[in-house]
């Protein structure tokens, strides 16, 4: 198996696997560390950014998307895009309800 470049299959090197693993570990540490710093509303976005960076590492290298046919990446990223629409429209909708009609109680949270 010396000439992998002729193959339609990509074989990841051990070194690459380990480097990605270190990256994911550092990312996990970073997520926990960042959660201990109070940045207000920014916290969740920083956390999501780090998590997405980790997810990208996994998808590109462990899931071989980096060397895969672009259509597979299109399918996978498309799922996240649809999820984004799903959450986005749900949030737009829920933001248009009055929360404090009755103090201490709000619609959408039936007892």
């Amino acid at each position: 198996m010396s000439d992998h470049e002729n193959s339609f299959v990509h074989i990841a090197s051990v070194k690459l696997l380990l480097v990605v693993w270190i990256g994911l570990m550092v990312g996990t540490w970073l997520t926990v560390a960042a959660s201990n710093v109070d940045l207000g509303a920014l916290n969740i976005w920083i956390g999501l950014a780090i998590a997405t960076a980790k997810a990208t590492l996994v998808a590109l290298f462990y899931m071989h998307l980096r060397w895969d046919k672009p259509f597979n990446a299109f399918v996978f990223v498309g799922a996240f895009f649809l999820l984004f629409l799903f959450i986005g429209f749900a949030m737009m909708d829920t933001a248009h309800y009055q929360v404090d009609l009755i103090p201490g109680y709000s619609p959408g949270m039936g007892g």
């Binding site: 299959v9 956390g47 997810a55 799922a79 949030m91 201490g104 007892g111």
Partner: protein, 305 residues
């Protein structure tokens, strides 16, 4: 795609409806990616529920996450990342026909999966014992046989006509597996003339009369600023979402264990001696998605601030 003769799958039988091993492999892979896309959307519904509830009622999530152990969550994240490494390594071993290494990596991946479920079991067990459960079963208490709500006599406050019993009970700090600091105060708003009534009875009437939770936070010095927010109305919603999301994820982990067991049997039978690694690749793809979803669950459930 020249030079198929050099592919790791050279000894592989090609089904009659495929032109060559390349097409066969790519078809399997596309099918897997479509399945993974549906998995993302499957979890997507729960992420929507999470987003909507958290946007409307952040106090429930801030209250609830105190009962999750950040360290156990981080430990499980590390375990899953390690299992992703071994799963990816198993694919490499299968591609290179290193059957011994493949078996080792499959076993290591399964051990990680069992480790994950073990930690999860410890977490679930603690919540079960303290009644920190989903919607209707939510019934927080200290120990299994004790009454649901202990009313401490110390620190009774009179706030706005409602007597509030503040518990500064050290035992209360053992509720949940969170690392609650000694000085933290868990308090409950209790109408005292109702002491004899079973505290388990939860009214079906909307709790408008309770007033905003902020009222109970007095400046009388009995409660310090270390206090966890007073239990907000509908705190059980956090635990409903927690159990649904981690439960569905846990079922996926169990499914992954089954799939790896199957691969191990295939490897033992010698199925991968020809370099037929498609199965290993597909299961590993699934496993990476399980890992990927946990990365987000850990952030969104354990690290709420």
């Amino acid at each position: 795609m020249a030079g198929h003769a050099t592919t790791p799958q050279e000894g592989l039988r090609v089904d009659h409806h495929f032109e060559n091993p390349d097409q066969q492999y790519q078809s399997a892979k596309l099918g897997m990616w479509v399945f993974l896309a549906t998995e993302i959307l499957f979890f997507g519904g729960l992420f929507v529920a999470y987003s909507v509830y958290r946007a409307n009622h952040p106090e429930i999530f801030i209250f609830g996450h105190h009962f999750l152990d950040k360290n156990l969550g981080a430990l499980n994240t590390v375990i899953l990342i390690c299992s992703s490494l071994t799963a990816a390594w198993a694919v490499r071993a299968a591609q290179l026909k290193q059957i011994g290494l493949l078996k080792l990596m499959l076993v290591l991946t399964m051990l990680c999966a069992f480790g994950f479920m073990g930690v999860k079991a410890v977490e679930y067990n603690t919540k079960w014992k303290h009644g920190l459960l989903w919607a209707g079963s939510y019934d927080p208490h200290l120990e299994h046989d004790e009454p649901a709500i202990e009313i401490a006599t110390e620190g009774e406050l009179l706030v706005d006509g409602t007597e509030v019993a503040a518990e500064v009970v050290s035992e209360a700090q053992r509720v949940g597996d969170a690392d609650l600091v000694e000085s933290e105060v868990v308090s409950k708003s209790v109408v005292v003339q109702d002491q004899t009534a079973s505290p388990v009875d939860r009214s079906n009437i909307a709790p408008a009369a309770e007033g905003p939770a902020g009222l109970a936070r007095s400046d009388e010095g009995t409660m310090d600023e270390h206090a966890i927010a007073i239990e907000p109305a509908n705190a059980q919603t956090f635990f409903s979402i927690y159990f649904l999301m981690t439960g569905l994820h846990g079922i996926h982990v169990l499914g992954g264990i089954g799939a790896f067991l199957w691969l191990l049997m295939c490897a033992h039978r010698g199925d991968f001696a020809t370099g037929h690694f498609t199965r290993v690749d597909m299961v590993a793809l699934y496993w990476h998605v399980v890992d990927l979803i946990w990365i987000y669950l850990f952030l969104l459930l354990y690290l709420v601030e």
